[in-house]
Symmetry: C2
Subunit: 138 residues, 2 copies
Amino acid sequence: MGAEEQVLAANAKFYHAFAARDADAMAAVWAQRAPVACIHPGWHALRGRDAVLASWRAILGGPGSPPITCIDAAAHVLGDVAFVICIERIPAVELVATNCFVREDDEWKMVHHHASGMARAPAEPEPDEPDSGSGLLH
Amino acid sequence: MGAEEQVLAANAKFYHAFAARDADAMAAVWAQRAPVACIHPGWHALRGRDAVLASWRAILGGPGSPPITCIDAAAHVLGDVAFVICIERIPAVELVATNCFVREDDEWKMVHHHASGMARAPAEPEPDEPDSGSGLLH
C-alpha cells in the first residue's frame, strides 16, 4: 500500500471511530508524541493530546454526536507528513475538513483536525468568482 | 533562526501579503512544486496552484478584501513540514486558521490554508464542555 492509500486509510479510521462513537478507537487515531491540535466547527483551537481527546470523549459520549460519513477524501503526502481534505456529510449539512497526519512508529497518526461549515454545497472551482460564498470574510 | 521562527515568519508573510492586497507577494508565499489547496471561509476546497492563486487574485483585487491581522500564531514543526494555527482578526469578527507549510528550496512555503468562523471568541479550553459552541455539528 502506498503512502497516499495509507494516509487515506488512517483518515477513514478517524471517521469510523467518530461514527461508531468509539472513544478508544479515536484515541488510537491520534499521535502519541507529536503535538496535536483540533478545531471543531465554530470552536477555537484545542491544543495538546489531553484537551483534544477530552473534547472527543465529550462529543462521542454526548447526545448530539451526529452520524457522519466522509466523502471526496484527497491526500497530499509530503514525506512523513500528510494532510487530507475531505467532505464530512452529516444529515442536512456538509462540512469541509483538513486532517493532518504524521508517520509515527511506521503508522500514520492524526496531529490536527479542522472542520468547518460550507456556505454552499461543494462544486467545481469557479476561478472567475472564487470568493462567492465567502461573504465579507475572505 | 530556528525552524519554528522561520515558519512563523512565513506565516507572517502570508498575512502581510493579504493585508497589503499584494497578489505577487501572495503568489510568492505559496509552494511552487508541492500540491497546494485552500479553503476560504464557508467555501469548498480549492486544489492546485492555479485555482488557489486565482482565488487570491480575486479576493485581493475585490472591494470586499478586509483589513486583517494575525494573532496568537503557534507553529507545529514536523521535520520539513509544519502547520500553524492562528486567529485572523477582521473588523467585527475573528476567524481561526490552519496554515500548512513545506520547506521548499530551503524556504518555508504555504501548501494549505483553511480559515473558518468561530461561534465565540477564543478562550481557554474548557475540557468539561468542549463541544459548546459547536452546536449540532461536532
